[in-house]
Symmetry: C2
Subunit: 271 residues, 2 copies
């Protein structure tokens, strides 16, 4: 794999961030991208802030050493727990998943009643509520931890009774918190795979379609803006190189999330 000086670096707890890479490839087809999936220590969503920060620092260092011009934290949990620290410690610009998602949610929500679906860590961090309130102090934000959605998406169980019942249970909690929600943030890289089930359950429970905010697209737009501002946009052919800390099932599950085969995958040891 080339060193690819001037790539966009993207790291994630595992394969989920490939939904972000997919959006990046669509929005910025000329860019070289280096992806690091920390599959050996996946998932981050139920781990403590200190552990997630330690892992995020290691991931960021690995990509910075490969000369990336912009660093994206695809994982919402890592964004919630590590973005501020990585920004203060690194010279390269760093984008997380939370602020782009919050911006899009505020742009979508007419009533300013926003529901956030996320991991236990993302929800406990309160980071979406903070990011949304920074943009719209009057907004009401209700957040729901959805720990079973990641394993469902990883297994490809995205249609049928099981995902329907699981999603209904989580959205039922959200409806109990605020039945006036009009916008849902899919605050985890895996959730776009369950978008159909989430949209259906949302319409059934809330009695109307909900706006669905997928932070992958929002992150890709934020990345383009960040590169454009700094005159760092590439004009090459574009490329994707993947590093993983454990190769197991990466091609299989990752291909599903990326929406195509992953050719260039190298295993690395981050300890």
């Amino acid at each position: 794999m080339q060193m690819a000086m001037g790539s966009i670096g993207v790291f994630d707890s595992g394969v989920g961030g490939l939904t972000v890479v997919r959006a990046l490839r669509a929005a910025l087809p000329a860019e070289p991208i280096l992806y690091l999936g920390d599959t050996a220590r996946f998932p981050y969503g139920s781990k403590s802030p200190a552990t997630v920060l330690r892992y995020a620092r290691g991931n960021a260092r690995f990509l910075v050493e490969r000369g990336v011009k912009l660093l994206l934290i695809a994982c919402n949990t890592a964004s919630a727990f590590a973005l501020d620290t990585l920004r203060s410690e690194l010279e390269v610009p760093v984008l997380g998943a939370v602020v782009p998602g919050a911006e899009e949610a505020v742009a979508c929500s007419r009533r300013r009643r926003i529901g956030v679906l996320g991991t236990i860590g993302t929800v406990q961090s309160g980071s979406y509520a903070r990011a949304i309130h920074a943009l719209a102090p009057e907004a009401a934000v209700a957040a729901q931890a959805c720990p079973l959605l990641v394993p469902l998406a990883e297994e490809g169980w995205t249609n049928g009774d099981v995902p329907r019942l699981v999603v209904e249970r989580y959205l039922g909690e959200l409806h109990g918190s605020d039945p006036e929600i009009d916008t849902l943030v899919l605050g985890c890289t895996h959730y776009p795979l369950l978008k159909g089930a989430i949209a259906e359950a949302g319409e059934r429970l809330f009695g109307r379609p909900l706006w669905m905010v997928d932070s992958a697209g929002a992150m890709a737009r934020a990345a383009r803006a960040a590169l454009s501002q700094r005159n760092l946009l590439a004009d090459g052919q574009g490329s994707l190189g993947c590093f993983v800390t454990d190769r197991s099932r990466f091609a299989e599950v990752g291909g599903r999330l990326f929406g195509g085969p992953l050719a260039d995958v190298e295993q690395v040891d981050l300890g």
Copy 2:
């Protein structure tokens, strides 16, 4: 926490091994036990053999340095991928989860038709089939990977429609492989929490109650035999000290699996 020379050391990928500790406390109430849950790198079930072996070595070293007299690998995946290596590398006797579970399955199964439920790693390793065939070469073994059962057990979703449907789907696959199964091995420390749902689905699908083999009880009996043979049984008051690599949710989820509060928990960094 005391060094507790002469403890039984138990390690696991996370909290699941506390079902083994619970069985050990019941079978060997006079023994001091040191438990290590590698919660920062949990789960092992979908990771590669090389990664699981690396983690298992680190866990074993940690406990051996604390002077344990017997080492139990509570995690079935780690038993499948690391038992032989740890036995060859360590001087302390090492017990895994697979052989005790296989022995009990062979003792239970009249027809010699055995189903094994496990993680992706445990099933792919083929270790239960090997252990069962070593005892009963004529036995037919069908194994089913059940990746959603661990997250369901961790979340405490052990009753109701969701676990029922998930368990039915996995047991339906097993029934398709061999409708004559009479014995089911719960080949993962978390599965005893779903025993009710598994037993019900088994009876419904197979048309009769199935023997359910829970390796926690079998491991506790194997541990007692191993200590007794070596004249290493303790006659003290018994104790339990827990180490975790990430404290997050350990007391909450662990207490559910242990069946009581966990008082003595220390966080350690294994890298």
